[in-house]
Symmetry: C2
Subunit: 412 residues, 2 copies
């Protein structure tokens, strides 16, 4: 008998019919003799609807009352799922954030989980109940309702699995698992049987939006095995777990891309301490996230500084940078909105030479110019002309042998 | 400075625009220097929608999970009203049933309030907050969410007013107050400035559906002055309060009617102990509410027994009674679905003779035959042919001088 935490997202519980399907899946696991804690999101679209109402009521609604309104979405689904499980003949009980309780800080709409009391859940599980817990919500020390921010239900599920020392946290979603790259642009893309937390983190933040980044960080911190599976099929998913020796055999796990990038270069910046800070401070103040930053060695006391921002922030960022560039007497500001970022991710990369050169070779062979390069321990990212995105992904996917079954199977 | 509890129903908070109007009304009272606790219902239609979802999820959904789902309606409105008040520059805080807390028993979907802890509300009022409390919901001793049943928000408001020893409980609704009778059938109907709890109880259960019966019982028990007012106009409403000497001057306060009645008579019933119980037991078992019951003196050991049920229950009730009538060897069962009940209500009635005879005279003069009569301390009800309903109401309204301003004004 295992203790399993299952999480179903908004699409999986989009209407009562789908909630009944979820009940069937939960029932199947329960019938095998497992103890089950289910975490659910709001029905798809509900959270948006509720957020919209708060904006109608107040211009800047974020705060205590916003979370009171928005947390009702999950409350409806947990009640309905518990009812659907009862209809199938099972003992089921819903628990809200404050009923578990899941204690968070008081940062409304982006609260962080501080601790989870497990006594109530364990005692109900012991009585034979299936627990249906509300995702996305908690309660602060003063009894105020809080929400964890978008995608927070993943974090709830992983945090519950960690607190309960569950055998596995199964995340049911509308994809079948984690792929070596986007199957829509590379038909050879293959589902990974296993991947590491770090790889998952790089892939999530690079655009493979299957698991919320915070939930993966949580899983890594508490070493919670996370299984990503489809809620609509019965096929095996991808297990996200700590790195093991097997994984190191495989250098590269996946190729990701992000077209939502725009590039700004400041030319001939005086290379003095504090200059970079001066450039980025106005962007931070304007709430503009900077993604890649590349600075090369300096010549004659001057350097070039290039960075990327999202396309939505591009215009504003460019204005701010042009202003600062003048102040610091940089020579010029160049920009390009037609760029994309293609990244090679792999936990094995750190112990293998040659990934970078293989990347550059493969792209060069197709005449794809690399405009920017940035690397981390398990990732190499290249900025290229946006028109080459799909070609670059396919070329790299093939170059690292991700299309070959036998290579991937070593990981299983 | 007064402490005022205000309650706004589903129509008054039907959308964000209306919630903003409510915020304006609340703000007006706050600006006068009063301490305000507002109780709100779910947006009109929301509770029905939520109840419907629970029925889709489970055939018989009543129970713990039903209340988890259904209580979200009020949670949305309290958050939105608090936001709208903040937008107007006021300090406002919403409180759910379990945050107040309002402790109830565990009878899900028809829970009774057991006690209210007022510490939290008083401390927030002291800090200058307007409190926006969720109607209709509470929490049991184990922390389960409960709901009070339909119309429960009235009860929440009155119970809060009682616990807080508020100066007044203002119930805002879509009528301007309590009338001497239905203005739709009697143009002379006048708004009462004042009425007593008992009169209100008789009027509510007789069909003047302005205040939920339970809330009036609560108000009477704890002597809470209740002001019924319109949420859409600024005119004075009707004060429901304990009986005072002024009221006794006026014999009759109002004429009510109910067309949802059907009559069943069992003829020549053996007049023995236990026979009435035998007749009504099957009805109780079938969840059929019996309204009026009239039994006359017996002749030769036999009596006739007549009662009314709602039109919806008529067919089923008739079948059950016919079966029992055979068993107890009654002579016959007669029935009539074309009846209505017209009632004269007045707290002063008990100290005045002649109300009954004036009633019978007035109806007789118009040729209206009285089929059944039943009386309480402050009410006389007559069953008449349904086609005479409006005529009977108008005749009685005039007979008791309810159309005359000077009579009514003695009560003000």
């Amino acid at each position: 008998m295992a203790l399993i935490v299952q999480k179903y997202g908004g699409t999986s519980v989009g209407n009562v019919e789908r909630i009944k399907n979820v009940a069937q899946k939960v029932a199947k696991a329960k019938k095998k003799g497992h103890q089950i804690v289910v975490v659910v999101s709001a029905m798809s679209g509900e959270t948006d609807k509720l957020v919209d109402l708060t904006h109608q009521a107040k211009e800047f609604p974020i705060g205590r009352e916003h979370d009171v309104v928005v947390s009702t979405g999950e409350q409806v689904t947990i009640g309905l799922l518990a009812l659907a499980l009862q209809e199938l003949g099972f003992k089921a009980k819903s628990l809200l954030g404050h009923q578990v309780p899941i204690i968070t800080d008081s940062s409304f709409s982006k609260a962080r989980i501080e601790r989870i009391d497990t006594d109530k859940i364990f005692s109900e599980l012991k009585k034979g109940f299936i627990i249906v817990a509300a995702g996305f919500q908690g309660v602060d020390e003063k009894g105020n309702i809080t929400t964890l921010g978008r995608g927070g239900s993943d974090t709830t599920a992983v945090a519950l699995a960690a607190a309960l020392k569950a055998d596995v946290c199964e995340i049911y979603t509308d994809v079948e698992g984690i792929y070596t790259t986007d199957p829509n642009i590379c038909p050879d893309a293959r589902k990974l049987k296993k991947t590491s937390y770090d790889e998952m983190l790089e892939m999530a933040s690079l655009g493979a939006k299957v698991l919320q980044t915070r939930s993966v960080e949580f899983a890594k911190k508490y070493n919670v095995p996370v299984m990503v599976k489809s809620s609509f099929t019965d096929t095996d998913g991808t297990l996200v777990t700590k790195e093991d020796r097997d994984m190191e055999k495989v250098v590269v796990s996946g190729i990701t891309y992000n077209k939502d990038e725009a590039k700004i270069s400041v030319i001939r910046v005086p290379d003095m301490p504090g200059i970079a800070a001066k450039l980025f401070a106005p962007l931070t103040k304007a709430n503009i996230n900077v993604d890649m930053i590349v600075q090369n060695i300096s010549h004659d006391g001057f350097t070039d500084l290039t960075f990327t921002v999202s396309k939505a922030d591009f215009k504003k960022a460019l204005q701010l940078v042009q202003k600062t560039a003048k102040e610091i007497k940089a020579k010029d500001v160049l920009s390009d909105i037609n760029v994309a970022k293609v990244s090679i991710v792999g936990a094995g990369m750190r112990s293998h030479a040659g990934v970078a050169s293989k990347t550059f070779e493969a792209l060069a062979k197709e005449g794809i110019n690399i405009q920017m390069i940035s690397t981390s321990e398990i990732k190499i990212s290249c900025v290229v002309d946006v028109k080459y995105t799909e070609l670059a992904v396919r070329v790299l996917h093939k170059a690292f042998g991700l299309d070959k079954e036998d290579v991937r199977d070593e990981r299983g």
